[in-house]
Amino acid sequence: MRLLTHNMLSSTIKGVTNGFPLKIEPQTITQRPVELNPVFLKNMFAKLEWKPLVEASRTMGYFELPEDVSDLSVLESEEFLQKLHHALLEIHLEEGALVCPETGRKFPVQKGIPNMMLHEDEV
């Protein structure tokens, strides 16, 4: 699971008002380089919830993302784009769990795949 995906995933358990963001409990993390696409990154930047991304990246052992990105000129900085790219696409959670912020329910991540299926009583 990449942080790009984590920034979208949300708990839809019955009764939960805000199931985002899920807390990451990492067990196994890998890094896999992939080609940088600036058009994609700039497109994604507008959609991201920045603070959850920063926090998630730190949980995954990456501390390079700036906390404050209110100055949008940051998007023109290659250095920033590299860091954003790395955080969003190159760090993988292979094994671990994603925790619902309201119920504490753990969604397992195995072989890089989050299983977000709800049980009968959670629907």
Partner: protein, 406 residues
Amino acid sequence: MQVTINICTQEIFKLETRMVIGVVNLSRWLKGTSSSNKIVMSGFKTCGSSDLGASLIGGESGAQEEQSVSVRASAVLEECLASSVQSTPEIEKKYVHRVYDAIAPHFSSTRFAKWPKVATFLNSLAPGSLILDAGCGNGKYLGLTADSFFIGCDISAPLVGICADRGHEVVVADAVNLPYRTGYGDAAISIAVLHHLSTEIRRRKAIDELVRVVKRGGLVLITVWAVEQEDKTLLNKWTPLTDKYVDEWIGPGSPRTRSSSPFTLGSSSSFALESIPETEENGLKEKLNNFRDSSSAMKGSENGQIASEGKDHLDFEAGEKGESHQEYFVPWHLPYHRAEVSGASVGAVANGLAKKDDKKGAIVYNRYYHVFSQGELERLVSGMKNAVVVDRFYDKSNWCIILRKT
């Protein structure tokens, strides 16, 4: 206590579905009620509102206590209905989920031909798009456009595993309840997915989800198998859904409720298989010819009716003829050498979910389908407040629609 339910519905929803689901859940809500309680479905009104609403008039032996009961019951009913949408009906568990889990590797090996219409859609999107594929199967369309990023999900963990093995970003999730926050995607696709949902409410919910998860202005492509098959002999060979499955399934085809008769749960429904009179059939053929896209030439089939890898895989059982019927079991032949030695297939045969066919050397599974009739997709989306239809077409025995989120 006799409970009379007047249900306001959107005109596009078949009343029977709503009533039945409403009754099932309402009966659960009415705790501690004696067996002498009857639930009477009577009449219905169409409301202007697009939200499902129900007014409940309850009373003992004729006395009417409307107001306070109405409001509370309405809220409860809505909640019951809302949660019931997301619970997987038995028929889907048995004849969709378990089947795909069992056949995943074999199924995946036959899914490689890319449907040009989907490719065209994906290529029309802006470079650097984030595309969500809900019901991605073996991930055939993930990564189709090199400069976009795809996130796929499917309810079948084995199929999702196959996607992940190929390096795709995927999640195990339910298309009826996407675990995605609103507006994240640039576009979404649902290719041959909705026909596996057994009720109209679930099909509509899945469409709502597709629209929800894309940004404003984002596009959604949906394709589903059509009743109007290019090869009409196929329909004759599919097995229409019959009475014995009714306990596991609630959906259109349940008998139309007469206004003053009690509707008791557990009664069997009858499914009338009407044959289309000749004139209608000819008219349909004409409509198909108008829709046919002569420019798309596909080798092998794309919609999954004919396996791309040798035609022997899909051999349909002879069934009753019923062109207006939309609920079917479509067999999948899993060759013995592809079935696990121990595991899903052995268990499936043991509990009647699948059959061994020694002549063909395969285990035969049935997949549940609700095939769509002409105009059904449009009717399903006609009440949506946050999406408009930007294109609709028929291609290779599939009905297709493109929506834009407003």
